[in-house]
């Protein structure tokens, strides 16, 4: 069965003007990604999901994704259901950056999220699983990690400036965001339900 639209990572479309940074911004929601060569700010709010900021500073191209893995097997095993899904989520972002002129061998990364913010999910260590996958993947792809702020129990606000690779991150210590947590629980349920799906095959 082909991959359903609701679990395919989508390009973020939510543009806004950030009054604090006086800059055009893009909001990336759970299950979305964005890449650009424009002077924009990309922002996302993370719970147990992870966001990987990737950038090629020499050409000023970068992007960020926001995803979580389905429940299913050892996430550090690339051939497990969750491993295969994670590789796919990362490839969509990398391919987009490369199309905008970035070079794969010049990419550098910053990694955020994987907070075990959902009390009912603390036992299953959903955040840990997402972080372990991303760290293993980046190492495997020889993409250096310039900065990381992961795990713990707090949500994080990430503001990423793709042209330079700069990130401003804030841990939200007094913030229990029910809406964010609901969205993440729903996303995890959906990707888990659809985890056995893969892409179409056409034989010409």
């Amino acid at each position: 069965m082909a991959l359903s639209s609701e679990v395919r990572e989508h390009l973020a479309t939510h543009k806004y003007f950030d009054a604090k940074f006086k800059k055009a911004g893009i909001k990336v929601l759970p299950g979305e990604y964005y890449a650009t060569k424009d002077d924009l700010m990309i922002t996302t709010l993370l719970g147990s999901c992870v966001a990987v900021c990737l950038y090629d500073e020499s050409v000023g191209v970068g992007g960020l994704n926001h995803f979580l893995l389905p429940d299913g097997g050892d996430s550090t095993d690339l051939l497990s259901t969750s491993g295969r899904y994670g590789v796919y989520a990362m490839e969509l972002l990398i391919n987009h950056i490369v199309k905008l002129g970035g070079a794969r061998d010049r990419l550098r990364a910053k990694v955020f999220g994987g907070g075990n913010v959902i009390k009912s999910m603390t036992q299953s260590k959903v955040g840990d699983q997402n972080v372990e996958f991303v760290m293993g993947y980046l190492q495997n792809e020889l993409i250096p990690i310039d900065a990381e702020d992961v795990l713990d129990i707090y949500p994080r606000r990430v503001n990423f400036f793709p042209a330079t690779g700069r990130v401003m991150m804030k841990k939200l210590m007094n913030h229990y965001d029910n809406e964010l947590i609901d969205k993440e629980i729903k996303l995890r349920k959906v990707v888990t339900e659809h985890r056995t799906e893969s892409g179409d095959v056409d034989l010409f």
């Binding site: 690339l78 590789v87 796919y88 969509l92 892409g199 095959v201 034989l203 010409f204």
Partner: protein
Amino acid sequence: MSKKLLIVDDSPSVRQMVEMTLKGAGYTVKAAKDGQEALGFCRTERFDFVLTDQNMPNMDGITLIKSLRAMTAYTRVPLIVLTTEASDAMKQQGKAAGATGWMVKPFDPKKLLDVVAKVLR
């Protein structure tokens, strides 16, 4: 003798996933990191099947397929694309270049083995 397969992808993770899957099914597998390297391998060795990614540095999958189809040794060899590109326009470009088939990621080991078995028959 086991069939000799060439896999082409710029991502080490994808190369590992595909290689493990095919070797596990008893095929002999060689891996290239882009179209240019793959074309070099194909000039000196004969493969029974080539699986290639589309977006890669130096030479993309469609260019590799066009180049291979121009070589007498590869006019009939199955050439399959495995990519994140899901649009019909891209599939048509692949078909026009001489691709045997087009598989969209996420990667599914079972589907790949089915396709390989089918086109190698």
